[in-house]
Symmetry: C2
Subunit: 149 residues, 2 copies
């Protein structure tokens, strides 16, 4: 069953399962997308105040959205997204840590020009599973079809 | 030569080389991070109004920052970033297209609590090389050490 724009309400919450992030995952992503050395070299990470390499923020962001998409909430309604606001990396993500996400609807706006769709703004929060400490937040914009379009 | 916080000024511009994005790159990224079907299935892309699969926005974002990091502007000064604002996907990115980026300093704020560093806000713009059409914009926050720290 797919949700449509009309099925979404402010305050609605969605929670994902957990995902274990390995050191190799962190190294692979850094190699592909983020050459900043504190994502691939433990000594470089120590010089910026961390005990060892941490995931690239682009990796944490991509994993967080992957966990959200894996909920398959609105497979029949989803259209390409217009954007994301307020991406914030609050704590580092290390290899061997497990993450899970909570997403809360904070705004739902029907399109004025296109009556078949609307934009839903979600607060995405990514927690380290054991501590439940929030390591990442962002406000994702999701474009969804209306049920009665 | 590495830039430090003190070497950066509002209005300063940086431009990257070009990077060719393949259809396989798009498929690989989608498989890892974005199961929305319009990134892996041409028919699904057509149902949302595009001629074929387009890169996941997370992929476009990650590639855009990769191109920026590859400039190695501030290798000796860079610390982990606090975040990104106003991520916007303006046009789709297709396999076979080449992209390049322009980054413009729009704000530079010395830390009040930590005199050894500051935050630089850059407007990142990703262009399709041939048309120079802007396909992606974001405001990246970059935490840099001060030269005299």
């Amino acid at each position: 069953m797919s949700l449509f724009f009309d099925d979404v309400w402010v305050g609605q919450e969605f929670r994902s399962g957990s995902h274990l992030v390995s050191r190799d995952d962190i190294l692979d992503f850094a190699k592909a997308f983020d050459p900043n050395p504190f994502h691939s070299d433990d000594e470089a990470a120590k010089t910026v105040g961390y005990p060892g390499i941490m995931a690239s923020g682009l990796h944490t962001l991509s994993l967080s959205f992957r966990l959200f998409f894996d909920l398959h909430l609105w497979d029949e309604a989803v259209m390409p997204s217009p954007g994301i606001d307020k991406v914030r990396w609050l704590k580092p993500l290390y290899g061997g840590q497990e993450i899970q996400i909570k997403a809360t609807v904070i705004e739902a706006t029907a399109s004025r020009s296109k009556p078949d769709r609307g934009i839903v703004r979600l607060l995405h929060e990514t927690m380290e599973t054991t501590s439940q400490g929030v390591i990442f937040t962002a406000e994702g914009l999701h474009r969804l079809r209306r049920r009665l379009a």
